[in-house]
Subunit: 364 residues, 2 copies
């Protein structure tokens, strides 16, 4: 049992871990206001470098003195390097040791991301935690392809590190750079990756390349393997994960930080996370069900509106439906993380996990 | 100068007049939360009987014990009779003295609205202020057609009044019924309409059939004419109006209540009301304009976000753009009404109007 509670301090906030970071792709966590994120004591959110680079673009972000000021977010920001979106969203991408050229998914315009460039962009964004450029392979990939890609990723990460060390924050506060361990589901490659990266003094260590199609048990196993090697002194961040069950399993295996579009994206599809599992609010059975969607997880949504009302909003395609569902799901995730932290501090993590899952999975 | 400040008391709230009622068509003022309406001290909103009747429908509204409970709105609700939407939205409508049959704009299903039926529906909705069924003619219409229609409308309103008097609230609180004066732009018909309707003891009097295409000056003139005849003791409600300028002109002519989709609908099209006029936030000139959209009308939006940021949200089709624009426009309207009420009480209405319009129209 490697669950642990800790603190990350950035210029903008003190972040209690384990922490879930809502995804604010383009300078907004979709369909929720900053002050509503504050209601759940959200101390850090994530921005996507690829999206922000394309829109609003560097000129606007620089003019605004960074993303914090642009979106008026006063807590911490973590940005990815853009690599994942380049590999998943853009067409006509071409990878070489220099970097990756790609076409914008918006207007087809051509761009080049190098390790140095993505640090430069994140300097303009002004994120508290920056991520280095890495190559994101599809799943599954052969050992040999992963091994070859790993050399390139390590080279890119080193160049990011050097460029980071030799450049300065534009807005007068400290930014931090994490590493990203790759290696797909191959433990020997994961180990090699962690060893290479541990030679540089990154401020935290991320595990990338998981939750891309492999089975959950495989992901948990790789996480478990990695956290035995990653520094105990530094935050460990599992990128792009996950469901409430994933969070519980991976906290147990020593992860401190998570991000995922799931609570926000599912909300916009009418899928609400509740104490008794995920529900589809559009289901006809909620037509005249005037109960709260979640009596046990209290949010503005669950305290004020019924299943029938929220269903009506979704059936009528009312924007308020997206708002209320998003607010509830973010609340559900942040409430879960708060309970996780408290349970760890009270040395009752496994009991908490068991009792949470008993309810959460009871209707499956 | 007939501007006047007053109070309307319903079971759910005390409403200071002149009042602007945001439109909550289907059980939500689009893209804004109830608690945000409260920020602007909103004491009454409007619901549309036609829309609510079709979705969520009577069974759900009855099951919820009315619209207040369904949408968790604790202040007052006014509902129209559905007539206006039947005449403007539905196809295959057929009008007779009995009522109007129409096809749903959603699924084509056939329905009949009679005067009795629309009262019955509004009993189920549980609105604090109900409106009677009236025939809404297009503009322009010939005197003869309007005159003929007027007889039908008066007959329908009388039947509404009778049915209202002989039926009871379903939820234990008092509901009120207003009259609607019609007559298009013909003063003799308007006068006839007001005389006929004044024979019954409606709780308030609405002016319908304006803001349907006639020139503003014509509308103001008809309003001015009507308010000379309408009871001084009862609230006067100008339906479906209007721009900030319309509100100022019609308050001056003795109107107490307004409703209009303009602040909410325009918001969703990126049009923001500001102290210095209406702006289109998508305009390229706001690309890197980091000023507040309105330094002088303070809302969560204008206090926290720049023109450039809100523009970015609209260009990126982010839901938060709709939220922030809606919130600001509702705030702008409610702030205007508050200032109007204060100016009237201080006997400075015309000065206030002049100074408001000097700024509001300065960039035209």
């Amino acid at each position: 049992m490697k669950a642990r509670a800790g603190l990350i301090n950035t210029f903008h906030s003190e972040i209690e871990t384990p922490v879930f970071m809502p995804v604010g792709t383009m300078g907004t966590v979709k369909a929720i206001e900053n002050r509503e994120l504050d209601e759940f004591n959200t101390k850090i959110i994530l921005g996507n470098t690829y999206h922000l680079y394309l829109r609003p673009g560097m000129e606007v972000l620089k003019g605004a003195n960074g993303l914090h000021k642009f979106m008026n977010w006063n807590n911490s920001l973590l940005t990815d390097s853009g690599g994942f979106q380049v590999f998943s969203l853009s067409s006509l991408k071409k990878v070489s040791d220099i970097g990756v050229t790609f076409s914008s998914h918006i207007d087809g315009s051509k761009h080049l991301f190098t390790p140095e460039k993505v640090i430069e962009i994140q300097r303009v964004i002004g994120s508290d935690i920056m991520m280095p450029l890495d190559e994101c392979l599809p799943y599954p990939s052969e050992w040999k392809a992963v091994s070859k890609s790993l050399s390139r990723t390590h080279n890119w990460e080193k160049r990011c590190y050097e460029y980071f060390k030799n450049s300065e924050s534009l807005y007068g506060y400290e930014q931090n750079l994490f590493s990203i361990c790759q290696g797909s589901i191959y433990k020997d490659l994961r180990r090699q990756s962690m060893e290479v990266l541990s030679e540089l003094d990154f401020k935290g260590n991320a595990i990338g390349g998981l939750a891309v199609g492999e089975k959950n048990e495989v992901m948990y196993d790789i996480v478990d393997y990695c956290t035995d090697f990653l520094s105990k002194e530094k935050p460990r961040y599992l990128m792009g994960v996950g469901t409430p069950v994933d969070l519980l399993e991976c906290v147990e295996r020593g992860i401190d930080m998570f991000d995922c579009v799931m609570p926000t994206r599912n909300a916009r599809h009418g899928r609400l996370f509740t104490t008794y599992g995920e529900i589809n609010i559009k289901n006809a059975k909620y037509h005249n069900d005037f109960n709260s969607p979640d009596e046990e997880c209290r949010t503005y949504t669950s305290e004020n509106f019924s299943l029938a009302y929220i269903r009506h909003l979704f059936m009528s395609k009312e924007i308020l439906g997206f708002q209320l569902a998003t607010l509830h799901n973010i609340g559900f995730y942040q409430n879960l993380m708060k309970n996780i932290r408290e349970a760890i501090k009270q040395d009752k993590y496994l009991e908490f996990k068991k009792s949470f899952l008993e309810k959460y999975l009871s209707k499956n």
